[in-house]
Symmetry: C2
Subunit: 418 residues, 2 copies
């Protein structure tokens, strides 16, 4: 045996440059704690599967293997199964999208689609425009491909068009190469905000004019509680929008099936990248979803999910009103999973985490959703998973932690102390 | 609507540099033709699922959802399910590997593990050493990460140590940065060759001395037909080997479950890369395999697969003896899926493909398995999928095509013409 065994200290020298940006998200370490049963977790984004009829799912998979096991358990195509791609088009039609199944590429969750789209377009140093704040999992992908993330300010209607225009001008003046705008127009993660139709048109016009793709990530679009949701951005522009969809929130996440609907020129590259990454998406997972869509009342099931989440959203907003200080503000989501809370700027939500955990409640600090360290006085609260009762308990406990911190800093006096 | 709509012609300018290397493999276009029922396909590497008891698989998945649906259908961990990681360690013990489940990272097939390992280690221009010939799906990954592939000559015992040493010296003298050696020691794809134990030790010593990781890809290790298979390379060196395993050939490919067993220092990066790429591997697929391993006679099932493949291997070798010209040589695999045929060097196996298809047989031309255009007079024949009878028919037809081509070029006269 030679002595030249590589030890951890000399591993770093062997890594690719991008490995320096493979660092754990702020969310990850938190989740280990948040999953303890005594903690009310307002941190995770796990869909609530309590409304899912397990017997029906069990029948679907059993039948699938008995009737079509040779196909379901075999390798499939790199683009994904043709039948499921047809069904995906029918589903997308609910949001105004007219698409051919030939333009759909199925991926291992929409996360994989985002990873591969970034692989196709982004060289180190390229700029990606994202909402401020944005999805932590997207920021992780963009970091691994060594991009520069530029955040665009939002208001209660989502991305601000003037801020987008300004950012494009500024980045280009500085010689930056913008590859795409990444956005979540419906019930945004983490803000909960939805872009109205007119705002979508404005954003699309700006991007088309500037020759920047829009990557529209839409996992929550069918989970609206309060009336109609605007059409997808892809419905309005089929040439300049790459659309990402997912079954994780409308059916189940454990099968890992998502998709990208892409302009023809991008499709070939995406299939090749998909093959290189996983050979093919799982036939079994795809055909399970395909059978479910073909034979089960999936629209009713989504309606059940919606009423389950609405009840929880209501519980959270009521509790915030009752227990959070007047100096805090928060968004009022009309669907999806998240409420975004802004505290007085002197409060550091990362510092508060251990105190919240001690009070048996968890949340995600705002900085997790920015690539640039912003958001230290913000937090994301998820209402998707706990029961309404637990949500009330958790928000009340968190409200006390926040009010105590404000009091400690000489601001507003917590109610309990008055 | 602005006129500045991006059309295909200006897409290229937007792509990342690596996209230029996202090109279809030579295998892909062939597979569309090879899958026609009238063609005997000796091209694909699809495992043969005819020996798999579908009723048992159907019961496994049905029970899994009824008893543990809330977990099986939910998001899981980025490292993979702890129970399955334990079972993977038991399985690897069959090949002499002693490992902790904490060092296993489960991925979407072992293809994803290879993709992510490359992501962690390889910068553009870095060198990866591979066997000559090597797995086409690995070459695709290495191309996407813009590496330089250097092929190392093999003999009937696999990689030639002297050739490896020489390549390392040469690459380094030219300033090249070698990141790892990628090899398939058992029943190699495409050559069918197996490295004996002593050869493994030599290769390991060279790599350790040179501070080069070995990436040992072992999807076929348990599919040996002719007596014992040497221990895995990882069994001998736990610090310098990254081991890739897969259930695609021992259970089924349609679930897309594989794994990497990595040195501790690499593990954290791999989990983060896995999360970025797919959030988490499918809980449902992992728990299906876990239940199967826990409750079904999986060793017997692998034995059934082995006797199924042995019968086919025998049919292919007998037919090659009977129908191929004396100027051709081929490997004699003791397991796995493939025979590698070398024809006289003036024969171009890519040119022969349409004639083979006309004779109702398909194979993969040798050049697909080299990054440098070598192998034009070689071909890979798979015996895994067709029936023995169809294999005999296909090899006979292909033998005639080959002999006709040799005759056309003034070489050996085909028997049919004699």
């Amino acid at each position: 045996m030679s002595k030249l065994v590589p030890h951890e200290e000399n591993l770093t020298a062997r890594y690719a440059e991008r490995a320096a940006r493979m660092v754990p998200s702020e969310i990850r370490s938190l989740f280990a704690v948040a999953s303890r049963p005594e903690i009310v977790s307002l941190a995770g984004g796990m869909p609530n599967l309590s409304a899912l009829p397990m017997e029906m799912m069990a029948d679907v998979v059993q039948k699938l293997i008995l009737e079509n096991g040779q196909e379901a358990l075999q390798y499939g195509s790199g683009q994904g199964h043709p039948r499921l791609r047809e069904q995906i088009c029918e589903m997308m039609a609910l949001e105004g999208i007219r698409a051919k199944s030939d333009d759909v590429v199925i991926t291992t969750g929409s996360q994989a689609a985002l990873d591969l789209i970034t692989r196709i377009f982004v060289d180190p140093g390229d700029v990606i425009l994202v909402e401020a704040p944005s999805y932590v999992g997207a920021l992780g992908v963009f970091a691994q491909y060594q991009s520069q993330v530029v955040h665009i300010a939002m208001d209660d209607k989502g991305l601000i068009p003037a801020a987008l225009t300004e950012a494009i001008t500024k980045v280009r003046a500085a010689g930056g190469k913008i590859k795409f705008l990444y956005c979540i127009p419906n019930f945004q993660n983490p803000s909960g905000v939805t872009m109205p139709a007119s705002r979508r048109t404005e954003i699309l016009d700006i991007c088309r004019e500037a020759e920047i793709f829009v990557v529209e990530d839409n996992p929550y679009g069918l989970l609206g509680f309060d009336g109609p949701v605007p059409n997808a951005m892809r419905a309005e522009d089929h040439e300049n929008v790459i659309y990402l969809g997912s079954f994780s929130k409308t059916i189940v996440p454990g099968l890992r099936v998502g998709w990208a609907l892409v302009p023809q020129g991008v499709k070939e590259k995406l299939i090749i990248a998909n093959e290189s990454s996983v050979l093919c998406p799982s036939n079994f997972a795809q055909l399970t979803i395909s059978s479910y869509l073909a034979h089960e009342p999936w629209r009713d099931q989504i309606a059940s999910f919606c009423s389950l989440y609405k009840e929880r959203r209501d519980a959270m907003l009521e509790s915030l009103d009752a227990h959070f200080p007047a100096s805090a503000t928060w968004t009022k989501p009309k669907g999806g999973f998240y409420v975004w809370v802004t505290l007085p700027p002197e409060i550091d939500t990362k510092v508060l985490v251990p105190r919240a955990i001690a009070a048996k409640v968890a949340y995600v600090p705002g900085t997790a959703f920015y690539a640039d360290g912003f958001g230290s006085w913000q937090m994301r609260l998820s209402y998707c998973h706990p029961t309404p009762e637990r949500i009330r308990k958790g928000v009340a406990a968190l409200g006390n932690v926040v009010k105590e911190e404000i009091a400690r800093r000489g601001g507003e006096t917590p109610k309990a102390v008055r």
